[in-house]
């Protein structure tokens, strides 16, 4: 169907067409997404393949020193008079070997069984001083007869094993990258000398870090911190999803071990309580995200339009008055709302009523959406009122001359323009609402919480459930599974919508 057919349809048909084409477009969008993933994977392997090819090529074309640096790092540089660089490479290699022998290999070996030297589930039943082949010193409480282990520090700790394993893998990857750089550097200096030039001195090379390689200087420290305190924990958490690290298996003292995809199976179908909870929370999370996003968006535009009407004076005052609720820190505004709306809260006391704003399933759900409007609409007002001022006035002028009324002006000029510019914002606020911890946690705490939910309540989102599983119940494995699922939803959702949205298509046209 082309544009002409579309224009000839009635309004109702057009809306129907748009809705059906949205839904029929979803498989296509998923297809594009998968194709894109395939492209990425292909590119990745091509990259590795090329890496190996040039790695081999450098070796065959290299002279003795270059070949030697494939085994002993830095020899190539040292043979070509770059002593500083060569020694640095050599030191790194020695350091890495030392690290692997003393530390890395230990944890690489233990990760296979996650340190199962003894069966963690019944260490309390063991009578003598040995668990498996590990000596353990108990202190028996004379009164209660309970046993505590004295030498906990010397026993295996699954947490440390898993953490050090991930660390060893990351360090090994970094070392491998340095190793490749070493072979490249050896070959490059060899080529420079062959062409009759002198290779760069250490000082000159260091100076490059302030100019041609300034990005390395700028990025190293932030990326290092990101690696240690962001990427390392994320990898650690992802691995936790495949263990039985829950409240019954807490190191030290207890070990946890690999359980494969058991936790995912639990969440999706095999554990009735957990899977039922997950299903209900997932559905509510999506309902919440849709309503929270669009209610804020639509009402925000309405307010912004009213404030920006030509006849309205003191525009700054009106905007600021609304923006105040977004400016106050959320833990203040939301806790204040909770106090106001509680069953015995101030609003019920002042009205003399008993309205269950927060204690009834759908009452609480409606309340969180309404309160979210209160704290969220100001953002839309801020964003769209700036945009409204950007729309050229002559567009409206000519529309008025053509006899368009205010409503037509809105649907034909204002809305398409705002919609086009704010699509990325809409996507990010949808993702933001899926992750909207504050509104739910401070207002209802996830409640009301019937027993048909596993450690959660009827207004809990996936992320607040994740928080409760981590903080209150220490079910780290389940929390990790939820985290991964939230990531998949957010990543897939934003990629698919972005592919489908006009903004993405137009960008391709222009570039």
């Amino acid at each position: 169907m082309d544009y002409l057919d579309y224009v000839q349809m009635t309004k109702g048909q057009q809306i129907k067409y748009k809705i059906t084409s949205f839904f029929t477009g979803i498989p296509g969008a998923i297809g594009t997404f998968l194709k894109f993933l395939g492209y990425l994977i292909k590119k990745f392997f091509a990259w590795i393949g090329n890496g190996f090819k040039s790695y081999g090529a450098r070796f065959t074309q290299g002279d003795g020193a270059t070949k030697a640096s494939y085994l002993i790092m830095g020899v190539g540089n040292m043979a070509h008079k770059q002593f500083g660089k060569g020694l640095l490479f050599l030191a790194l290699e020695i350091g890495y070997i030392f690290f692997m022998i003393n530390f890395g290999s230990v944890y690489l070996a233990k990760i296979y069984c996650s340190g199962v030297h003894f069966d963690p589930d019944d260490y309390n039943k063991v009578a003598d001083g040995m668990i498996g082949n590990v000596p353990v010193h108990y202190t028996v409480d004379p009164f209660f007869g309970t046993k505590t282990i004295d030498n906990l520090d010397t026993l295996d700790n699954s947490n440390n094993i898993l953490l050090f394993f991930v660390m060893t893998v990351l360090i090994s990857i970094a070392f491998f990258a340095i190793y490749i750089v070493n072979t490249k550097s050896a070959f490059a200096t060899q080529e420079i000398i062959r062409s009759g030039k002198t290779p760069m001195g250490a000082v000159e090379e260091l100076k490059m870090f302030l100019d041609e390689r300034f990005h390395v200087t700028l990025l190293t420290l932030p990326i290092l911190l990101l690696l240690v305190f962001n990427i390392l924990p994320i990898l650690f958490t992802i691995l936790m999803a495949f263990t039985n690290y829950d409240k019954d298996h807490q190191p030290p003292g207890n070990l946890y071990r690999w359980v494969g995809f058991q936790n995912f199976a639990d969440v999706f179908y095999s554990n009735p309580l957990k899977s039922a909870t997950f299903g209900k929370i997932l559905v509510w999370t999506l309902i919440w995200a849709v309503f929270a996003t669009f209610s804020n968006y639509i009402l925000g535009i309405v307010f912004a339009l009213l404030i920006n009407k030509k006849e309205i004076k003191f525009k700054g005052f009106w905007r600021t008055a609304f923006v105040i609720t977004a400016a106050v820190p959320q833990f203040v505004t939301l806790l204040l709302m909770k106090l106001l709306l509680d069953d015995k809260g101030a609003l019920n006391a002042m009205l003399g009523t008993q309205i269950p704003f927060l204690s009834d399933e759908w009452g609480a759900r409606i309340t969180v959406i309404v309160v979210n409007i209160w704290v969220g609409v100001p953002y839309t007002i801020l964003i769209t009122s700036g945009l409204l001022m950007n729309i050229p006035e002559d567009l409206y002028e000519s529309a008025r001359i053509d006899g368009a009324n205010a409503f037509q002006q809105f649907t034909k000029i204002t809305f398409p323009y705002i919609w086009f510019v704010t699509t990325p914002y809409l996507i990010s606020s949808f993702v933001g609402n899926i992750n909207n911890f504050n509104v739910i946690y401070f207002l209802t705490g996830g409640g009301p919480s019937p027993s048909s939910y596993y450690k959660a309540g009827q207004t809990d989102l996936l992320v607040t459930w994740l928080y409760k599983l981590t903080v209150n119940t220490s079910d780290f494995n389940l929390a990790a599974v939820i985290g991964i699922i939230v990531f998949v939803i957010c990543a897939a959702g934003s990629l698919i919508t972005f592919n489908m949205s006009k903004a993405a298509k137009n960008e391709e046209e222009f570039s």
Partner: protein
């Protein structure tokens, strides 16, 4: 002729009258909405001056106005508000300095330098940003325990500033708008990229430096999630958000309700003012990227 003119005149008059009524309706609507919007905050301020104890009263205006709640904030032993403010200030100041530096460095590199793995970094940043922020909280806590920062304020500084490298979008958008010809000209004059960054770009970027510094400074004041997990029962190292939240515990809410209100008002004032001053940057940050695609 005259009838036609008078017709137009009455039409215009009618049109103007209609316009006037819609304007009045809009004014009334906006005023009502603003009252509704600000009522809860007005209520909070009133409660903070309330002399009568207890959670809620059935009347809006307190019978007894008092400053005692504010005084109590700084004299109470059980909930040391002053100490929380100091803790939060320390954490905020350190993470502000580190994060601002990191954000400027990363966004400058990604915006104005061209290197082989630039696209990879941008994509990686996008992917990392999609993990729920506190998903790896337990793992981070283990790491902190290992490096001896268990329940320490400095652990919070690290958590807030380690992820700073990912918050480059707004500043990158700003750097993108500075004309590249400036760099080119400086390069021809023999300046290194390091010199260009410090001598040419940074002085031009004062607004974005101020914005980054203020947002990274206010972040720790509003965070509840990480503090609540990292500090657990170490109440000496609570920050304002966690401390105020603890005041509303079932056992203490009755005694401390009005004190909570006073504490909330006190902490909200500076942050609200900062936000209102900085709001135009927020808009530029969100829509800037969209317009350029």
């Amino acid at each position: 002729m005259t009838t036609k003119q008078s017709n137009v005149a009455t039409m215009q008059a009618g049109y103007a009258a209609k316009r006037k009524t819609t304007t009045i309706i809009v004014y009334i609507f906006l005023s009502a909405m603003v009252l509704l919007w600000l009522f809860p905050i007005f209520w909070l301020v009133l409660q903070s001056f309330r002399g009568e104890p207890g959670i809620s009263t059935s009347y809006l205006f307190p019978k007894q106005f008092t400053f005692d709640n504010y005084i109590r904030l700084f004299t109470d032993e059980r909930f040391p508000y002053g100490k929380w403010i100091w803790n939060t200030f320390i954490v905020a100041a350190f993470s502000c300095v580190i994060s601002t530096l990191f954000i400027l460095m990363v966004s400058y590199a990604l915006s104005r330098l061209r290197f082989k793995s630039r696209k990879t970094f941008l994509n990686l940043g996008l992917i990392l940003g999609m993990f729920p922020g506190f998903m790896s909280m337990a793992a981070t806590y283990s790491i902190m325990e290992l490096v001896g920062l268990k329940q320490q304020l400095f652990a919070l500084v690290i958590v807030y500033s380690a992820g700073a490298g990912l918050g480059y979008q707004v500043a990158k958008g700003f750097f993108d708008t500075i004309p590249r010809s400036l760099d080119e000209a400086a390069k021809i004059d023999g300046a290194t990229r390091n010199q260009i960054f410090w001598i040419i770009i940074l002085p031009l970027s004062k607004p974005i430096i101020v914005y980054t510094a203020l947002t990274t400074f206010t972040g720790p004041w509003a965070d509840y999630i990480f503090v609540s997990y990292f500090m657990k029962d170490n109440s000496d190292n609570y920050t304002v958000a966690l401390g105020l939240y603890k005041m509303l515990d079932n056992q203490t809410i009755n005694d401390y309700f009005t004190t909570f209100c006073a504490g909330a008002v006190l902490i909200a004032i500076p942050i609200t003012i900062l936000f209102i001053v900085m709001q135009r940057f927020y808009v530029a940050g969100v829509t800037g990227g969209a317009v350029k695609g």
